[in-house]
Amino acid sequence: MLLITCPYCGPRPELEFAYGGQAHIARPQQPADLNDDAWAEHLYMRDNAKGAHAERWRHTHGCARFFNAVRDTGSDRILATYETGTPRPAAGDLVGGAA
């Protein structure tokens, strides 16, 4: 069970959280302006990174807030957690440096 540091509450066991998929995918302001391909890209296409992956988590059984995490999908190490709406940390700012 992962140990995840909620930016609002601190480290908590994984079972308090719900996974929320890839982070930093903003819903288009005007979906009607997108053609089918662009809309499908937004809806369905996701990265499948081996290594550092920015993803959303929600502290469902805690503060209920969404936040973002960078997780190494190979080792499951959480390299950073940060508030929704803030940019993904640079590689050098991750736990253990570049990932």
Partner: protein
């Protein structure tokens, strides 16, 4: 003690405390401190089980967790029977009852041993090759045969009456294994002020020190030092000592699973204590001190009872005071067996021969053995063994062939060297490196915050191991942010045994008729592995699955490295290139009881009940599970079955009035200046113009355009919506709302609150609903003019505040009375009393389903399956057409979402009105077509309608709305059912009744 096998003194047993026990019904005696295995050996019993495949007689091989043979069932009473326990780990108590397994009719005479005679016909992969065809034979012949022959112990037949607990713990340093390395690490960490948990699977701490007779540590005999070390740790309040506790699993981010056996060793367990306790420990730092396991040697006939591991034999002698036999032959590739030989020799056991497969043996232990006059033969192996239920002799021959010589004996001790226990390290996803010098896989790069120490990383000298433990302790303490003490080297003296060993099979293992076992528990021989390589298998992962080597409950603790050695030699590929199979948890089997802990019976899953639950139960309601909720399904009267009760309830609602507990509906309060804007962006409906006091049927899509949830939404005030969801959908709807609010539209000033548990909801439905409620409400006008269909009002009912909705899921005049949960029961009973003059019935979910189906109202999850659009479900009317956007709108504009052949909601009438189609049935256009038929739709709901006097069904049918009046077919096991496509609204299509 009378047994000739028990020594007069020495060891950690208490000879003055005899314990009675039985094995297969035979009364025997052991002493305090014995394991079942040591007590059996003390009685001269080696034969303890039959092997899995060939039913060969098998004896005790080891003295610990690696035991593949001595699996027994231990019985306390009829309900307390534990199969497949390793006798080497079962602590003896007075009155213990044990039985052998996998034998019929008895251990000494086992008819299954005939498998041994036909063994040339059941080679590796036999099952895969044989039980293939004919297909029919699988059910009638093969599977019953395999099931009867397979498996080891039998499961207990009664529910487990014992209590199991679990607990979470945190510490700075967790140390798995309390041998010399673990103790040294624990002392170092504890002296730094760290919070330490030290666990060991054995009943006593000490590991190899428990069998030590001559070594000294800091000038003290090893066992005296051990006692002082434990006393120091026990006196430190920041140290938790857990004997009888196996670290069985290493999970992500340093979560370690510990299985603590609390009462299994007690003759009379206290009722106060749990049988086992599952610990989930989150450790800042972990030190793995799991030690090493001795490897058997692979020679023909190496599995006879009386053949055991040399260091295990030494443990039996030095720790338990038990001689393994009177006259033993030793075969070895490691100096450790000489040390065992010397100890046995000193205890009066005759050493008939020491066969050493190596060319030289000049370490201190072989030197001492020479000086003691023990008969040593270098470059010598065993080419065969004799004996039935016990080994009687061996054939010795030179490694490079030549004549063999028979030597009589009643026990054989073998040592192929030691394999570091890297199980937990491997589970932690650390990388194992092959060390050519040690001929071992050793811990390499870590994936978690852990380090290994001592024999588990290939270090064997006592002084070296103690120093390594201390260094690991200091390293862990520093990594945990504490200051380690100044390094202090422990003086220790112990015999240097080197790191020699042998991997693979000895000469003769492949000879005709030879059975040289690699995996004792799964009966895999060297020849089986060779056959697999001849058949083209190359990867150890494939060979493992084909031959089942290493796949038994011992996970190949004694066999994996020898299997690798055999395959490596056969393929001419170095061992690291052959690879190593993955170690998986649990290290040793863990009971289901421990894993389930308190999650059983009523605590298995939470149960949600409404405030009206007890009333319904008292009325004889039959309940159904809906998610975690218990919902009243129907209220049978006087022996009614469900169909009769539902028919009566339906007619009563349509003709008079019924009351229904709708409390389980999900409820979310959407509040804030931007509440309407938020609802507009989320739901398909238009909310801006909805006046306070009015409500609307809301449809929620995912952004892919498919229906996600639905429910009536009331606007309580300009800035306040009372949103209802499906019973099962409440959490996911709230999660979706929070997702959009927090991450897409953080600019909106809206608050979301789950109010499901705050409101009891009492639905009063039927033509007389108004009359029932009229006398109960205060300050509320229930007239059609003041409170029309789809409206709501606030006021009081029975003296308590209510949000009263005029709405209907039945098609009748209806109200849903929301009152605070604590008043739910009282208001319900008041409504019930007021309803009696009107013939009110209580109805359940089954009647609710029928009534809504008669009106063509969908149920999300029944009519929808994640691929249904609002238009498919006939809900286009709900969509706010003028809105620029809402969740799902862009997807609904895709061409495929508007194709005319999409499955659309329709009604079906069976042409025979008494036939009720099975829900989930497929719908076809032509019943005469060939199988497999092409379905054009499926039946989503199907009921007998008492109101209509016939069956009705809802279905999703391709292009369904254009098929009105068509005849379609539903194939069933009893032939096809002809149906006519009709409107999904079967009753009161004009909606007169709902607006009454």
């Amino acid at each position: 003690m009378t047994s000739v096998y028990r020594t007069k003194d020495g060891g950690r047993i208490q000879r003055g405390k005899p314990l009675r026990f039985t094995f297969d019904g035979r009364a025997l005696q052991g002493v305090e401190g014995d394991t079942l295995a040591s007590a059996l050996l003390a009685n001269g019993i080696h034969l303890v089980g039959r092997s899995f495949k060939y039913h060969r007689p098998r004896g005790i091989l080891s003295a610990g967790a690696d035991e593949p043979n001595a699996l027994v069932g231990v019985r306390r009473d009829a309900a307390r029977y534990t199969p497949n326990l390793r006798a080497t780990q079962v602590e003896l108590y007075d009155g213990l009852e044990a039985e052998s397994q996998n034998r019929w009719p008895s251990l000494a005479l086992d008819t299954g041993a005939l498998n041994g005679l036909i063994s040339p016909f059941i080679p590796a992969g036999f099952y895969y090759k044989t039980f293939m065809w004919p297909r029919k034979a699988w059910d009638s012949l093969y599977e019953p045969f395999i099931r009867a022959a397979a498996g080891l112990g039998r499961a207990p037949t009664q529910a487990d009456p014992d209590r199991y607990l679990n607990r979470y713990a945190h510490c700075d340093v967790l140390i798995a294994g309390a041998g010399p390395a673990g103790l040294s690490a624990a002392l170092t960490a504890a002296r730094s002020g760290a919070r330490v948990i030290l666990c060991d699977e054995q009943s006593e701490f000490g590991g190899s020190l428990l069998a030590e007779t001559s070594a000294t540590i800091e000038g003290l005999p090893a066992q005296v030092w051990l006692q002082e070390a434990i006393a120091e740790l026990a006196g430190n309040p920041r140290v938790v000592l857990l004997p009888r506790t196996t670290a069985f699993g290493y999970f992500a981010h340093n979560l370690i699973g510990l299985n603590q056996r609390v009462t299994d060793h007690l003759a009379v367990p206290s009722a106060e204590q749990p049988r086992e306790r599952l610990w989930q420990v989150r450790a800042k730092e972990v030190i793995l001190c799991a030690g090493a396991l001795e490897r058997p040697l692979v020679f023909p006939g190496n599995d006879r009872p009386g053949i055991l591991l040399a260091d295990s034999a030494r443990t039996y002698l030095n720790r338990y005071g038990v001689r393994p036999g009177k006259r033993v032959v030793i075969i070895t590739a490691h100096d450790g067996a000489y040390r065992a030989a010397l100890d046995l020799h000193a205890a009066g056991v005759e050493i008939a021969a020491i066969a050493d497969v190596r060319a030289t043996a000049d370490g201190p232990a072989p030197q001492a053995a020479r000086q003691a006059g023990l008969p040593i033969r270098l470059r010598t192996t065993i080419t065969g063994t004799r004996g039935g239920l016990r080994v009687e002799g061996v054939s010795l021959a030179a490694m490079d062939g030549g004549p063999s010589q028979s030597v009589a004996c009643d026990a054989v001790l073998m040592s192929g060297g030691f394999t570091p226990s890297v199980h937990l390290f491997s589970q932690s996803r650390g990388k194992l490196d092959w060390d050519p010098a040690a001929q071992s896989f050793l811990p390499g790069r870590s994936a978690e915050r852990e380090r290994s120490a001592g024999a588990s990383r290939g270090l064997f000298g006592l002084a070296e191991v103690l120093a390594d433990g201390a260094a690991a302790g200091a390293d862990a303490v520093a990594a945990a942010g504490l200051t380690p003490p100044a390094p202090r080297r422990l003086e220790a003296s112990g015999i240097d045994l080197g790191t020699d060993g042998f991997l693979g099979a000895l000469p003769g293992a492949g000879a005709p008729g030879a059975k040289a076992f690699v995996d004792w528990q799964n009966d895999v021989t060297a020849k089986d592995l060779l056959l697999a390589t001849r058949e083209g298998f190359r990867s150890i992962e494939h060979i493992k699955r084909y031959t089942t080597t290493g796949m038994a409950t011992d996970q190949g603790k004694t066999s994996n490295m020898n299997a690798l050695g055999v395959v490596s030699e056969a393929l001419g590929t170095p061992i690291p290139a052959v690879g190593l199979t993955t170690f998986r948890m649990p290290y040793t089997p863990v009971t289901f009881g421990s894993l389930a802990a308190t999650s059983r019976g009523v605590l298995f899953d939470p149960v949600r009940t409404t405030p009206i639950h007890d009333w319904a139960a008292a009325q004889g309601a039959v309940f159904e599970d809906v998610g975690l909720w218990k919902r009243a399904r129907y209220f049978p009267r006087g022996g009614e079955d469900m169909d009769a009760a539902v028919a009566r309830e339906c007619l009563a609602v349509r003709s008079g009035v019924g009351v229904f507990d709708a409390t389980t509906l999900g409820k979310i309060e959407v509040v804030g200046p931007d509440a309407a804007k938020f609802m507009n962006r989320l739901y398909v409906n238009a909310w801006t113009k909805l006046a306070p006091g009015r409500s609307r049927y809301g449809v929620l899509l995912r952004d892919d355009g498919f229906i996600f949830d639905d429910g009536v939404v009331g606007r309580v005030a300009e800035d306040r919506f009372h949103v209802t969801t499906t019973t099962g959908g409440a959490p996911r709807v709230l999660a979706m709302m929070e997702d959009y609010l927090q991450t897409e539209w953080p600019d909106l000033n809206v608050w979301l609150t789950s109010t499901t548990e705050q409101w009891a909801v009492i639905a009063v439905q039927g033509p007389q609903a108004r009359q029932v409620l009229e006398g109960l409400v205060e300050g509320i006008d229930l007239s059609a003019e003041a409170l029309p269909h789809m409206s709501l009002t606030e006021g009081k009912i029975c003296g308590v505040p209510t949000r009263l909705f005029r709405m209907s899921f039945t098609g009748e005049l209806g109200f849903e009375v929301n009152v605070p949960t604590s008043h739910g029961r009282a208001v319900w009973e008041a409504i019930w009393a007021a309803g009696q003059p009107h013939g009110m019935v209580a109805y359940g979910t089954e009647t609710m389903h029928v009534l809504r189906a008669e009106k063509g109202y969908i149920i999300v999850g029944q009519e929808t399956d994640g691929t249904v659009t609002p238009d498919d479900a006939g809900l286009s009317w709900a969509i706010g057409r003028t809105k620029a956007d809402y969740v799902g709108k862009r997807s609904l504009a895709r061409e495929a979402m508007n194709a005319p052949d999409r499955k659309q909601l329709v009604g079906l009438y069976t042409q025979n009105p008494s036939v009720v189609i099975e829900e989930g049935s497929q719908v076809v256009a032509d019943a005469r077509q060939q199988i497999p038929m092409r379905p054009i739709g499926h039946v989503s709901s199907s009921y007998m309608s008492a109101t209509l006097g016939r069956s009705i069904a809802l279905a999703l049918v391709s292009g369904g709305r254009a098929r009105m009046g068509q005849t379609l077919f539903v194939p069933t096991a009893d032939g096809e059912v002809a149906v006519t496509v009709t409107s999904p609204v079967f009753y009161d299509q004009e909606g007169v009744r709902v607006n009454a």
